[in-house]
């Protein structure tokens, strides 16, 4: 924490490059993408209001699911309570595939696979956030996480026997009959959504510490095995 803080102070003291915002991506292209892909549901800029989706001013640094007056999906509200905050990294992952971060999101958007397009859109979104030069960021290319899963990983077929054994660990908290009291249900998920969600925990994009820990020691085959097993439960 302290180290982070002093880094930020240093940057301020020695002056940030005014063009820092451009380093994310091409904001002009982002504006165009926003108009074509987001604007039907989201407003941004002066006087922006909640519509089908929440207004997007000051989204950087904001806790997920926290815009006043907007009713979020349970899934988004839960992620917000767990500590999901919108940063360059989490927004990038969310835009790439909304379900990677928020399985039950109501945002009816299949995702933006092209990293450059996402970077452009993020640059545009950041223009409407507070003091963009203060937003902690790393070079987009230097990010250690890659929310896009290789197709081979998604295509893996898991061993359901192994999945059943591994799943016994999940059942300590997640109920086998799918009931959902304080801890989400994990039964009956589409396999791909399950795999994507687990990898998002493994990469620590999703915030929950127990799930991050559980996912971090599962390899690709083990995640596939779990997905295969849980998909068989109703």
């Amino acid at each position: 924490m302290t180290r982070r803080l002093s880094m930020a102070v240093l940057l301020l003291a020695f002056g940030t490059t005014p063009g820092a915002a451009e380093e994310i991506g091409d904001a002009a292209r982002g504006a165009d993408l926003f108009a074509r892909q987001c604007q039907a549901c989201h407003q941004i800029g002066e006087g922006a209001k909640n519509r089908v989706g929440p207004q997007l001013n000051k989204i950087f640094g904001r806790r997920a699911g926290s815009v006043e007056g907007f009713t979020y999906s349970r899934s988004m509200a839960r992620m917000g309570a767990d500590g999901l905050t919108w940063t360059l990294e989490t927004l990038d992952a969310y835009l790439a595939n909304p379900k990677a971060l928020v399985s039950g999101t109501r945002m009816n958007y299949r995702g933006m696979p092209d990293p450059e397009a996402r970077a452009a859109l993020l640059a545009y979104l950041r223009d409407w956030s507070d003091r963009p030069q203060d937003i902690p960021e790393s070079e987009p290319t230097a990010r250690k996480t890659d929310p896009d899963l290789a197709p081979e990983v998604l295509a893996l077929k898991g061993d359901p026997d192994y999945g059943e054994y591994l799943a016994s660990e999940c059942r300590t908290c997640h109920q086998a009959d799918g009931s959902d009291q304080g801890i989400p249900s994990v039964t009956g998920w589409p396999e791909e959504d399950f795999v994507i969600a687990m990898h998002a925990y493994k990469q620590k994009l999703r915030p929950h510490p127990v799930m991050q820990m559980m996912a971090s020691r599962l390899n690709d085959e083990e995640i596939a095995a779990l997905a295969a097993y849980f998909a068989t439960l109703k």
């Binding site: 660990e169 997640h174 304080g182 127990v210 820990m213 020691r217």
Partner: protein
Amino acid sequence: MKLNRRHFLGTGIAASALLTAPTVWGQAKPKVVVIGGGAGGATAARYLAKDSDGAIEVTLVEANPIYTTCFFSNLYLGGFYDFEKLQHGYDKLAGGGVTVINDMATGVDRAARTVTLAGGQVLPYDRLILSPGIDFKDGSVPGWSLDAAEIMPHAYKAGPQTQLLKKQVEEMPEGGVFAMIAPPNPYRCPPGPYERISMVAHILKTKNPTAKIIIADPKEKFSKQALFEDGWNRHYAGMVEWIGPDFGGGKVEVRPEAMEVVIDGEVTKVACCNVIPGQKAGKIAELAGVTDDSGWAPVHPDSMKSKADENVWVLGDSSAQGDMPKSGFSANSQAKVAAMAIRGELTGSKSFPAKYSNTCWSLIAPDDGVKVGASYEPTPEKIASVESFISEVGEDAALRKATYEESLGWYAGITADMFG
């Protein structure tokens, strides 16, 4: 006998053939006896019966017809959870193919591979699982013995003791002193005593705000200390005094008749005193001869098999396994590894590498929950911690509330996983 079965497994007969083998050979099914129907034992019995699909005869021996969980018993103390909801019967286990015997196991003959019950019954076994929880070390707190537990309750085996402690706290005279004698390591549920302090403080804050709480502790530091101390400052400022070993917290005597606690020579009159003594493995583990000088039962890290006997497993609090804390979560996790290993030995089913984990939630005040957890893997020496996390001081209210709500989900989940 045992060698024969091993031998057949070694010749590579398919698992499916083995499953039907007993009827073909006119031989009895392999028998597993589980002693103790708590967090470890109930889980092991349930998973063995469920996953072996009737190929193994599973018998669970449990002294009490109803199990009262220690986990969440502190929440009951604080008025956040009903006592009835802590209680679980064995009907579903019985319905799931486990033979449940409500009796006390009084002896284990490891040479003959039999268990003797108080009622006289003798149960033969091929594999024995011991998950008897804890017993208290005699003389660990001078002046206190089990006979004094009606005056100074331990409430560290949940049930009437927990109800007694709650009643005593609620009936404390105005401005009275609540004392806790905290246990030395190792003991069940490392954050348990301090979550309890939080719950007692919550009751006193509402009913008896001038009352005081003192903790005499033989330990230099305790689980989630920063989180608890921060929480006590925020919610119960000035109420809780922790006396560590540097201030005599380890030099304690209690006088139940006089309701006095003597800490480092200084006598304090108390209105309520919770004595949590030093602990050791449940008595039956000692009787079975699988414990060592430490009072706990050493096990192999990759399977939870006893180091003293290859046909005996020890789970949960009684086991000495390495880094895992003695918790219900740990016992449940260990039970699944054990069930898989035993099934593998008896029926030739596939075995996978052991993975263990634990998370302990604690409630500090209404909607102020915290957690600590870790994942574990076997090394040749011990079960070793791989990765861990802990809540942070200064988390916002929404996260703390979500953590508390999650603990309610965990309780529902783990009890369903244990008792069906």
